[in-house]
Amino acid sequence: MKTLVIISHPEIGDSSSQQFLLSAVPKDKDVTIHHLESVYPDGNIDTVKEQKLLKQHDRILFQFPFYWYSSPALLKQWQDDVLTEGFAYGPRGSMLAGKEFGLVLAIGVKNSEYQAGGRESFSISELTKPYQAMAVKTEMVYLKPLLIFQFAYMTHEQKMKLYIDYQQVLTREKDASLETREKWLLEQLEQLDGKAFQPNEETTLSNAMEQIKTNRTTIDELKMILEQIR
């Protein structure tokens, strides 16, 4: 699976959340990072090049800071210029059909304010309706968004979780079941550089991998028994 991350941020170098996410991008995977403000500093978007890029990928992500309940201006312009009739929609325009589409949003306000009665009044699902409509119109499969609330206040543990969640958004198959996440994690653990570990650490790692597999067998067996007696 090839993933295209379209980032829009006017000052990406100064953004700690964006720099953190960039550091989490796997080097050896099929992930393309495409920062619009770097590629088009003058704002002149090459529509043909962008459409070609879209065609080459299976999962398209929009990553941006949530400004006034929407994206920075260049990403909106990108949508206007690139997602044209005949390419993205219309009788002869279904080049994006079947691809996956998702949002990665950095949000400055805390999660609990995005609801009726909260300071922002509306949920993120409500506020991102235009992107959901875009996915529907272009026949893309809308993924659950990765919402990053108040990155600056995150603890060390929350950041480690975000690091892994982001990698999964980039490379894991859509299904978020426990089994799929187990499979993804085992693949990652197998690729860890064993040379960096002490002998007792290698044992811990292999025991953990074995335990994940044993637990999976137990879960599957229990599932089978429960299905029989229900």
Binding site: Y163, I164, L178, L185, D193, A208, L222
Partner: protein
């Protein structure tokens, strides 16, 4: 949680803290969390199994 699993999770957490490479650190931390999630899932399923076997609905059969 069984003592053995508890030990393994603690060893993973300590191993994660010792890593200088952030990728390895985060991955090991995620592994300890996943093992806890699996353990909870197993406990819930065992609870459901227990509850179903003891359900009064089945007593008349």
């Amino acid at each position: 949680m069984e003592e053995e699993l508890h030990e393994l999770i603690r060893a993973l957490e300590e191993m994660s803290e010792r890593q200088s490479d952030y990728h390895a650190q985060a991955l090991l931390f995620a592994t300890s969390k996943l093992l806890q999630e699996q353990d909870k899932r197993i406990a819930l399923m065992e609870g459901e199994l227990d509850g179903t076997l003891w359900s009064p609905r089945n007593w008349g059969e």
